[in-house]
């Protein structure tokens, strides 16, 4: 549904996007991650026809964005990182204005606007002026606007930034609902834990280059990140640490108050080895649990956080 081929954008001496190749399937939620200044917003602006690439191509729903800007704009819904408001328009007028901008027939506009207001739970605010809404409400209005012409693809630049936990959860639920409706969603965010919960695929970008693209589960083996397990023993934790540290398959042993954290290379069948080693030493093993790799860890490992 969304594809970029050798996409490059150069501003003077700065290469904001450097030979970027992306592919996002229809119906996926794709998390676009990177430190500040990595090139996320520039990539999104090229995809939504606000910028021309210096080199390469961006394709949405089979349409080259540089050549078919008008058609592409009908297919996409773009929510920028800053919510643009027309200060004295009311919520309903604001949405109806964009409905008219997308050439939706006048007779259908009202029902469509009512529909998106219901979906985003903004019915009670339809007569309020846009600039009087709270940040969370404005973000929801932004999503409502994006949905007004029922686009196939949603490109959302930091939709949850600056929101309180409740508003973030609401936005997350809304995105899940949109996925159920079959939308393809590209979303950038700094709140990585949230992307982890809703994204099918993630792309990590730094210095304009894609340093990783795939599922969260694939990150570990692809990047050689060590897998971790937690081991709990009834007593004599020091002896357990000594025994486990001596095993050649184990990369690192860390102690915590109640458990031992062990990291090892992906692919090793370590659980049985740990159990055997500890039981043979007459230690009571309470639990051996795999530790989930966090997107934050992968992000930190993959990026240096250097801003252009």
């Amino acid at each position: 549904m969304i594809e970029t081929k050798h996409l490059t954008k150069v501003f003077g001496n700065l290469t904001a996007v450097d030979d970027l190749n992306l592919f996002i399937k229809q119906g996926d939620i794709f998390g676009f991650i990177g430190p500040n200044g990595a090139g996320k917003t520039t990539t999104m602006r090229i995809l939504v026809t606000l910028m021309e690439p210096t080199r390469g191509h961006a394709i949405i729903d089979g349409l080259d964005v540089s050549r078919n800007g008008q058609k592409v704009r009908r297919v996409i819904g773009y929510m920028p990182d800053f919510m643009g408001v027309y200060d004295d328009l009311k919520v309903f007028e604001y949405l109806e204005f964009f409905a008219a901008a997308f050439s939706i027939e006048r007779s259908k506009r009202k029902s469509i606007v009512e529909g998106v207001l219901e979906l985003t739970d903004l019915q009670s605010k339809k007569a309020a002026t846009v600039d009087s809404l709270s940040r969370g409400m404005q973000q929801r209005l932004g999503l409502a606007r994006v949905l007004i012409h029922d686009p196939k693809v949603l490109i959302l630049d930091e939709p949850a930034s600056g929101l309180d936990p409740r508003a973030r959860i609401e936005i997350r639920e809304l995105l899940r609902e949109l996925k159920r409706m079959g939308k393809t969603i590209m979303i950038s965010s700094h709140i990585l834990s949230e992307l982890e919960e809703i994204c099918d695929h993630v792309g990590i970008i730094e210095h304009g280059q894609l340093v990783y693209s795939g599922t969260i589960e694939e990150i570990r083996p692809r990047l050689g990140i060590h897998t971790k397990v937690r081991v709990q023993v009834a007593d004599n934790q020091e002896k357990a640490i000594e025994l486990l540290s001596a095993l050649p398959q184990i990369h690192q042993v860390q102690t915590n108050k109640n458990y031992i954290s062990i990291s090892f290379k992906e692919g090793e069948n370590i659980d049985g080895l740990i159990a055997r080693t500890l039981v043979n030493a007459n230690l009571d093993v309470i639990a051996i649990q795999p530790e989930q790799i966090k997107l934050d860890d992968a992000f930190l490992q993959l990026t240096k956080g250097i801003v252009h």
């Binding site: 602006r45 939504v48 026809t49 606000l50 910028m51 021309e52 008008q70 704009r73 009908r74 996409i76 773009y78 920028p80 800053f82 919510m83 643009g84 408001v85 027309y86 200060d87 004295d88 328009l89 009311k90 309903f92 007028e93 109806e96 204005f97 964009f98 409905a99 008219a100 901008a101 997308f102 050439s103 006048r106 506009r109 339809k126 007569a127 002026t129 600039d131 009087s132 709270s134 606007r145 012409h149």
Partner: protein
């Protein structure tokens, strides 16, 4: 020990207690803005051109050395007067523009509430903003002081004139800036602040003298051009101490007059009056800023809610009905959005009604004054009216077209509009029609004046066609040009400054330079024709030529073949003084301007997706 005792005194004179850290912050920001340096450069260039033109306009230069030396004092007077008047108007215009978003920017970026949570008080916010911008103006004024000091050596100009003019200009700029700052508290858009400030200043500078003139039985023109009438009337002179334009006219007249000062003229009184008026406006601003900031802290974003609550129940219901009503989007969406906002906004359109009523009453008063003085019989009076409407229309057209994209960029709505399925020409056309619709009241005033006085028999009917041709070209050109500048800039304030400087350059300074060049070339041949043609491109010149030929009772009854148009330096054009060649020339100029307007619109469209935020 000594340093300890000096420190409070030093701090007192740093005025930190008055301006707070905001002053330093604003200075730091402005020192980093390249446009500030461009502004100073443009100011110096314009000043030099003006001074050069003033120098060369004194014909007495030609002749023997002894004769030339004897006329140096006259040249000195002419140059000093030019600089002083240029500074006087430029300083006020710049003050209004620079302060037009001074508080609204803080409100919009939600930093005003944050500022109020620091030890900075509302007085420091207001004064800090005002002083930081006034410092820019002070630098501009200071640039010309050495020139004034040097030119004074020629003789004929007293120090008193230079000093008094400087302070009259400075206090007028403080007053204009204070008005702009006060409006910027409750108006988000810089263009609305500029229009409102210009309106208020127009009332004070033009309407007040008209009413005073009516009271004394003088014609308006006598006050500003033939200051002697004023000087001869002590009471009128005293009353004009409340008016910067009036006081500057008297001041200049006294400088030029060999008889010297009048008993009833004392410029420091005027400066004190202006400072008191500015202080009152600033005190009001301090009070309102605090209220607005506190509401922002409390999350009460609707700034007018208290005003609403103070209304009677009946009025409040009506207001709520108006505010609560959701209006359908009809027609092209961009035009709908542009046109739904009135030119001058108010919470319940009361301001519109007051503004409209005030304008009509004022106009009627001026008509009455002219009528009792038999001014309506004269062509030049209609020229003044038509010229005034055209100038106001031009100002509105520039401000509105220049702000139509920058205001969207400032509110981050521009990229959203660009990602809708509206094509760029649709957006362009919607914006252009919106500008025209908003300026329509001014153009209707112009056309109404023409129609009314054509019917009564004071203006020849051909004026309607010819003036409409001139105005059409101007509207198309300024709209296209303004939208192009708007597509280039991120900030409305700078877009407006760039546009005004460009328009002044094109319609005022280039003709001056060409005039000088033609004068050097002996005022003949190609140079003279080229200068004549370029000079004729200025719409005010066209209006002048047309109204001089068709205005007034004498001309209104002439047959078409008897009308005579006095074009300057267009001797190579056969029968240009007659009605049909003149109309053809006006049509050609209209097509010329329309083509350029369309070209700029095309350029603007190409820039839509560049520099978007």
């Amino acid at each position: 020990m000594a340093s300890l005792s000096i420190k409070p005194v030093f701090n007192f004179f740093r005025f930190f207690w008055l301006t707070g850290p905001l002053f330093d912050k604003e200075l730091r920001i402005s020192s980093r803005r390249r446009l500030n340096y461009y502004l100073r450069f443009a100011y110096v260039i314009l000043l030099i051109i003006f001074v050069g033109a003033a120098w060369l306009s004194v014909e007495h230069l030609r002749g023997s050395i002894v004769y030339q030396k004897s006329r140096l004092a006259e040249i000195g007077q002419s140059i000093v007067m030019t600089i002083v008047l240029f500074q006087f108007f430029a300083a006020q215009i710049i003050a209004v523009i620079l302060l037009s978003n001074s508080i609204s920017d803080e409100i919009y970026h939600r930093t005003l509430g944050v500022l109020m949570t620091t030890p900075i008080n509302s007085l420091q916010i207001v004064i800090g903003k005002l002083f930081s911008k006034l410092l820019q103006i002070l630098i501009l004024l200071a640039i010309s002081l050495p020139i004034l000091a040097i030119v004074r050596v020629f003789g004929g100009v007293s120090w008193d004139y230079i000093i008094s003019s400087f302070f009259i200009t400075l206090t007028a700029a403080v007053f204009a800036g204070s008005i702009s700052l006060a409006f910027s508290i409750k108006n988000i858009h810089a263009y609305v602040v500029i229009i409102k400030s210009v309106f208020i200043l127009g009332v004070i500078y033009i309407i007040m003298p008209i009413i005073i003139a009516a009271f004394f039985g003088y014609q308006l023109i006598n006050i500003f051009i033939y200051g002697s009438h004023v000087v001869n009337s002590p009471l009128l002179t005293a009353l004009l101490h409340f008016n910067p334009v009036g006081i500057m006219s008297i001041n200049t007249f006294i400088m030029l007059s060999p008889s010297g000062a009048t008993t009833f003229y004392f410029w420091p009184v005027h400066c004190i009056i202006m400072l008191i008026a500015s202080a009152l406006i600033l005190a009001f601003s301090v009070k309102v800023v605090r209220r607005v900031a506190l509401r922002q802290i409390l999350g009460e974003l609707d700034l007018f809610s208290k005003v609403r609550l103070s209304l009677s129940k009946d009025k409040r219901n009506k207001l709520n009905e108006y505010i609560g009503s959701i209006r359908d989007v009809t027609g092209p969406p961009v035009f709908w959005k542009e046109a739904r906002k009135p030119l001058i906004q108010g919470i319940d359109r009361t301001n519109n009604k007051i503004g409209l009523a005030a304008t009509i009453i004022t106009l009627l008063i001026t008509y009455y004054v002219c009528y009792i003085n038999k001014g309506l019989d004269e062509g030049y009076v209609h020229l003044l009216y038509v010229g005034m409407f055209v100038v106001i229309g031009i100002i509105f057209n520039i401000v509105l077209s220049v702000s139509c994209i920058t205001s969207e960029k400032e509110s981050f709505a521009w990229p959203i509009l660009l990602t809708t399925s509206l094509d760029d020409w649709h957006i362009m056309l919607g914006k252009a029609l919106g500008v025209f619709y908003k300026c329509l009241p001014v153009w209707l005033l112009l056309e109404s004046h023409l129609i009314a006085f054509i019917i009564i028999g004071y203006i020849h009917p051909i004026a309607f066609l010819q003036i409409s041709i001139v105005v059409t070209g101007v509207i198309v050109f300024l709209t296209g040009f303004g939208i192009y500048i708007s597509s280039l800039c991120k900030k409305t304030t700078w877009a407006i400054i760039i546009s005004f400087v460009s328009i002044l350059f094109m319609w005022l300074f280039v003709p001056i330079i060409l005039g000088i060049a033609t004068s050097f070339a002996g005022n003949k041949g190609f140079y003279r024709t080229f200068f004549g043609l370029y000079y004729s491109l200025n719409p005010i010149v066209q209006i002048g030529v047309v109204m001089e030929a068709v205005g007034g009772i004498e001309n209104s009854n002439l047959s078409l073949s008897d009308l005579r148009y006095n074009w300057i330096n267009l001797y190579n054009f056969e029968n240009i003084g007659k009605v049909f060649p003149t109309t053809k020339l006006l049509m050609s100029i209209m097509f010329f301007y329309s083509s350029f307007g369309a070209f700029f619109a095309w350029l603007a469209k190409r820039r839509f997706r560049k520099n978007i935020i």
